[in-house]
Symmetry: C2
Subunit: 292 residues, 2 copies
């Protein structure tokens, strides 16, 4: 029998999407968030995510920082659509040995991030996992984005430039727990740079750029020398470390990004390549596969 | 250090609710679902839930039935507010050894239940758990209920009758995987019986009735002889087995429930006691605590 480790995450998702009834056209699985058009001025965004002990955090980690991360990851996904988070639900599947103090600090960290980004905790659920099992924390949320401002992964065209915010690589040294989701940045990009496709970098550029290009039906050319690397990281780590939570997007070649520096002083915005026809693209190795 | 096993589920939730910013008044944690008033004719419902391998299902269980259960549990929570489910998100935290065929059958089961109740899968997320850890499946969903028809746990009054649908106990023999959420029944109750409080029975009447009474600021008197027991079950099992997924509700003593039998032939509707002032109530032992 074939197992998850045999086929990997992307192949699993492709198989599963075909098996359950998806929503109306345009709101199915496959992007950073699901997008639901209820007819109003705002489109509704839906997102679910999980943090697993031993995979995304260690029990020795600062619980308050893990709580921040649990919420910030989801807000980062909303930001990658040009949107914001609104109401959050949290499911805690925990071993009975989990210390109450840890869980309370985790909640305080969630609260820090929710308050900073104007979001709310609307509800939750707790369950036990068997002794010896990893704790699993799942966060689901609703968000919204103004109609016409939503940026999917799928709108990129050959000739578009490929851009990233910030610097990549080395997140495990701390940024993976303490990052600030690029909410204002995502909105500014949506309003000023006519982005054709956008996503947040969670599994590393080497994994996520091919996903964006594929969703857009394009290939890509990456200018490796242009990739902005975090201090102490080379381009291999910038491509492969993952959990950068920066924005990756494409936009037409003639956009004027000169307003960025004044809006977001100290934060890089870098053109790192361009989309090309699918047959002319390159490929990338590395990045994070949950099941590899 | 105190652990989860020391304090139990209800005490944990009470402590956590105080730690993170809740939504506007009336939509905080504490009921079957979160209720969000966006100003329209319909109130929005939000719910998250989890199924844990070794706790809620075994890997040897029919995966398609487990998928049904994952969705049906959440639809049951919406039904307990008088509402319906709409868009679903699923988070799979799985060991790499999980068989692809199992996961695909699980998705088919989710699809069966979504299709039967007119709901949609809007998105999902997958993650790995360390080898040896239990699989955790979290389902989050949006739903809706007509304004004025939403039934909380908190509106019960002394003098109200306490009622349940169906028969209780013995769900582990199969019903816990194959049950039909009481959606039509919940709506009929909301429209015809002026219910003051309602919830679904997931942890057993012995655990859930005190929760409903407490949320309503009341005590309760249970007529044990009136409790409808599943075939082969005594009242102890009817009170304590859990996972009945029947509706528990309270309504004024003068309601006319005579239309029930024609609407739902073969399904019992039974008055099992009444709410009393808090100081005059009894207590119950038994039922399911995730961390006990």
């Amino acid at each position: 029998m074939r197992t998850l480790a045999d086929i990997g995450e992307d192949a699993l998702i492709a198989r599963l999407v075909a098996l359950a009834p998806a929503g109306e056209a345009g709101e199915g699985p496959g992007d950073d968030c699901a997008v639901v058009d209820e007819g109003g001025e705002m489109l509704r965004l839906l997102k679910t995510d999980a943090l697993v002990e031993g995979v995304h955090f260690l029990r020795e980690a600062d619980a308050r920082a893990v709580g921040w991360k649990a919420v910030a990851r989801v807000i980062s996904d909303f930001a990658a659509m040009g949107g914001v988070g609104e109401r959050f639900l949290v499911t805690l599947a925990l071993p009975g040995t989990m210390e109450i103090a840890w869980i309370e600090d985790f909640y305080r960290g969630m609260g820090d991030c929710l308050a900073k980004y104007g979001a709310y905790l609307a509800g939750g659920e707790t369950s036990r996992v068997p002794e010896g099992s990893a704790a699993v924390i799942s966060v689901a949320a609703t968000g919204s984005v103004a109609r016409g401002m939503a940026v999917m992964r799928s709108g990129g065209k050959p000739g578009d430039g490929i851009w990233v915010t910030g610097r990549l690589g080395g997140s495990l040294a701390g940024k993976h727990l303490t990052f600030s989701p690029r909410v204002e940045e995502g909105r500014w990009i949506a309003e000023n740079l006519r982005p054709t496709a956008m996503m947040d970098l969670s599994d590393g550029l080497a994994k996520d750029l091919p996903r964006l290009a594929k969703a857009s039906g394009c290939g890509f050319r990456l200018e490796r020398g242009a990739v902005p690397c975090s201090e102490g990281c080379d381009v291999v780590r910038a491509l492969g470390d993952g959990e950068d939570f920066e924005l990756l997007f494409t936009c037409p070649p003639d956009v004027d990004a000169s307003g960025w520096g004044k809006m977001f002083p100290g934060l890089e915005l870098t053109r790192i390549g361009g989309l090309v026809p699918e047959s002319q693209g390159e490929s990338l190795a590395g990045g994070w596969d949950h099941f590899a």
